[in-house]
Symmetry: D2
Subunit: 365 residues, 4 copies
């Protein structure tokens, strides 16, 4: 019950179904007097827009964000910020064939099991369209982070098995795959084209880095920074795995190599991914999210209907070949939200009883 809010002090609550009248988000706890306009939110929303790349569908969402409260004279007032985006291109009828069918890999069957009813129009609440609210909320969080000189960026690390060989952040926006490695782009294009041709879909890995995060964020022992980041990313529909720093490679690295040496100039390596014992250490935060292939595919699949009878299914209509790169901005939004929340949580208690002065951090970061 009541699982549609995220964050403690900087908290969003999202609502809306894929083919209902609108989707939206309430941002509660945003500090007052930050500059905020619909344009800032729109810019981030535009980055998750479909139809903008080879992996995407052509649904003309044309999302337009409206701010309905919490902003006065282009400044936040400290009251809840309501953002609404109408579902302009909703075509619920297109989903009528699936009204009594459970699409494999989708939440159709589990929503039905949980609630005993489901809005089958485009997946309803389990649709990727739900992420509009996350991104709009993440845009507001981004304004707060920018004020503290924190910058978060997400990029494609792996698309359908094509892995990047290097990271040039300037390149990310210059190709349709969100790749930071120009050399990977032709290979990714080929991979996508091949999947599309086969009526199939592909997954990948998104990497998110955060620069400028001050040391001290994260609340042991359960609300550790990495724990909340893991929750935030894993709560995105298509994500099947999350790792911080060394991640799963930690299993095969000896301690003598994994421990990041602390020097007078900072950490000599970053297996920690910027987080030690659940608290940011001032170094770059590095997280990765594994994204599963889009479940809606043209290729024929086995399933059952509402009566439990075996059926076959080919999902037609407008569907992406990969959640990447549209999902990248969603990952970025979730990281924004976690960092904004922990910034506020740390402000509440830090230095409260006396001047903390210059606490030692590696390399004076």
């Amino acid at each position: 019950m009541a699982g549609n809010s995220f964050g403690q002090l900087f908290r969003i609550t999202t609502w809306g179904e894929s083919h209902g009248p609108a989707v939206g988000v309430i941002v509660d706890g945003c500090p007052a007097r930050l500059e905020l306009s619909e344009r800032t939110i729109q810019q981030m929303l535009d980055r998750r827009r479909p139809g903008s790349g080879p992996t995407s569908t052509t649904r003309g969402e044309g999302d337009r964000a409206r701010i309905l409260s919490g902003v006065f004279d282009d400044r936040t007032t400290g009251t809840p910020i309501a953002i609404l985006v109408e579902n302009r291109d909703a075509k619920p009828a297109a989903y009528a064939p699936y009204a009594d069918l459970f699409r494999p890999g989708h939440g159709d069957i589990t929503y039905q099991a949980k609630y005993g009813i489901r809005d089958w129009r485009g997946g309803g609440r389990s649709s990727a369209r739900e992420t509009v609210g996350r991104v709009a909320g993440g845009a507001v969080a981004g304004v707060l982070l920018k004020h503290f000189d924190v910058r978060v960026i997400a990029y494609t690390r792996d698309l359908g098995g094509v892995r990047i060989q290097g990271v040039d952040l300037e390149s990310v926006d210059r190709n349709p795959f969100g790749s930071p490695d120009p050399g990977s782009v032709p290979l990714m294009a080929e991979r996508v084209a091949s999947a599309k041709k086969q009526g199939d879909s592909i997954g990948g890995v998104v990497e998110i880095v955060a620069n400028g995060v001050p040391a001290g964020l994260g609340e042991p022992v359960f609300d550790k920074l990495d724990a909340d980041l893991a929750k935030g990313l894993m709560s995105i529909g298509a994500v099947k795995g999350v790792e911080i720093g060394s991640g799963f490679k930690a299993a095969s690295i000896p301690g003598s190599e994994h421990n990041d040496p602390i020097t007078e100039k900072g950490y000599a390596s970053n297996h920690a991914g910027g987080i030690l014992a659940g608290i940011s250490n001032g170094d770059q935060i590095v997280i990765r999210a594994a994204v599963k292939p889009i479940p809606s595919i043209r290729r024929v699949q086995r399933t059952i209907d509402a009566k439990g009878q075996a059926r076959e299914l080919s999902v037609t209509g407008r569907h992406d070949v990969a959640a990447i790169p549209r999902i990248n901005v969603v990952c970025e939004a979730m990281v924004n939200l976690v960092l904004a929340d922990h910034l506020l949580r740390q402000r509440a208690g830090a230095g409260s009883v006396s001047n903390r002065g210059d606490q030692p951090t590696a390399g004076g970061k």
Copy 2:
């Protein structure tokens, strides 16, 4: 602030430092009239006891759990269950050499940065000893799960690069590594011996499976079952990554293979890991946690002291070579806690307005 509670309806709050007088947990929200004794908790605690295997130290913790409230005539009463374990073998003086040193890979430096003070005796709150409270709480959650025929088990999937080749759950308790593959045991023994000889440490991967979980658990869109599992596991100190079902492999599997076909007899595969759209689907839940190597090693490391001066450090004293397999029961405890909480959350709303009757789930699970 206030990050030491976990769960919404079935909630634990833990407390205690490694070398203070005691550690403990409050379990709030446990339903009334469950059978509960200190013995049940003790049995689970004993499984995380050090000194019981080749990867472990010889600290004689001899933990004894005492129930101080919430139980009457061996039954829970619905009031908070306080469990306390004294720190009998505390030797704070052994840590005096590290009072002004930041051990690499440890939370020393981040606790100092966050709080401006730290209890340096054995890592204080950032010590693995903190997990005693989790395990005691997880034991109580286990009693609730057992009542609903849910069974959770954790085992070693990889130890320092030695990966299991198969899973025989009966074997898990019969070797000192928590391995479900008898064939892997000699290799793991060799790996551990080698690391110990070198004054080094190793990491690994723990896999946790849950059987008997009913379809319908998980609260979209943020408190999805996998999101809460990810948070729970990532909140364990040594964990650097979490994945569900296919996990990071999802990146290279096409949708046509990744989608689990739904048949009249159930799902034909389990890439989902038992969770679809954040809701349990009735199939086995499969999760993995990547565990980093123990940071306390004998080998010399570079670090700085409280004044920021470069220093060298060799950590002596009693330290494990690997967190595995002691951490396995901690993972199990966290999964217990998440499932218990979501069972209660689902009970709150499910079928509330009318008899839901036989909702369709794959294979009638």
Copy 3:
């Protein structure tokens, strides 16, 4: 931070300023498959509409509630229910004279102190218009309560010093003051007319009763049913006091009289107000809220401006003489919300491990 949500399992989040584009509410955690239409919400909203009685202004709000999510085929789906009401008759310019003045008795000065900025148009978020979201959310809670045969009703117990002499629930809707005592109506009318003539305002006391509440609701020791009711009612802008059952009279009643005798047929009296030790006892729940006079009055008052200079102020424009009876439905909504939340919380744990069967309650209630 983040104080705009109410409830744990049945949770509302409200947003919106008095003279912004709209106000609204998200209802999260409402069980699935309840019948719900815009008409049900509209009916409850209409009861708080201004201009419907002698104590009220003539602002033509004409609120129309739109459901934007969470309902499919006139049934709740278990996903968040977003309800939006446009501010049709917003006249922000009317408030320009108060842009740099702090109206006594209003939140102008405290919002400014807290946030360093405020939306001065009609009080912004501190306006009574904020209660639209509460009432819409309370209407949804009412549907859930009705399913469990719980019925909540609020009425005027005292208006500007005119106290009712008896309670006839049938009368409440038949007079413009929400009074359950027809004999009090002429006196109340006189009291209101007198205040209006003097350019002054009056307060009163609202009594709320809940029938059919099962024994067992309330979560000791902090989330007691009366504690949550007190918070819910005190969170309404104009409320200065809350009491349960005997309330402040308990101070002068001896224990031998105050204790409600338990008989085979039920409680012989109800000083408890239906709640014992924070848990409902099956008897009628009785709560009262003290309502302060409307702070916006025509009579001249002393105040200061944004520069701290002394000023005089006469608030003109459309303002109620009393918050009663419009506030009555807001009180009812808050009680609905608390009871709905606690019904779900109790369902989560109650009888979970075995059939509780016939627990003894007074008089078999």
Copy 4:
């Protein structure tokens, strides 16, 4: 479920039954580096000790508070502070006669209805002994408040119908009734003696004032400062009503009198009780709690037993005649906790984006 925690950022979780081995509290979210010793906690606990005045029993609780975590070298470390108090004088056998009887005015019957089981030894969790954890937690909150120059004090305003005629805070500790009016003391003594003689009990009203609270605390619209104060006080077992400032008198005061004029030197009156629109205004905060008479009385009462049969009951043993003045320090503790929590919440967001500078507050307070 899970109702034993209070507060968002400064949060306590209490546990323990009246006649179990111990009671205690976890304080989570207390800022680091505050001076804290067992003596500070002990001093506040001693003020709720029974046997210290004419209204009290002679149970030799002799409570001794032990800090088990979260403090290092007499300073808080930012980790959870566990405080434990043993139940030294527990005499569970004394309650055996009530094992199958429901004492009127007590939680016996509602705990049984809710949980289907109850610890009948001395009321178990519903005993006033539960408040030990609140007071210990409130003592820690008091240390934080003192750092910010906030001072909270509770005193008796009315005891069994004897009302004070004036307030001299210096007098509060100089009489056994917690009265700030020396003239009221003989009358109160007479009232108590009379009730004791009749085997009866009495109630009263506690007033709590807080000085030095900065303007800006409270989180509209649900977590208003007065709303959280109301919840905190109403969650105390014996409290039946709460009012802020004018409270129930607001019902009969016209707006022209109730509005506190704002002058260049501050507010000219304080009907608001220091809180406007849910936010502290810098003036003194004034709250009152109505306390019911102790339900355990020697006089014979009607009740039923566990089988629903009519019975008669005379409660013998050691019982107070009035909860006042022992409950006063509990009220003070709850106010401490609410203010500490809101101080931290306000710190999280206030002035976050730029220097707020000198926001106007009445009289520069």
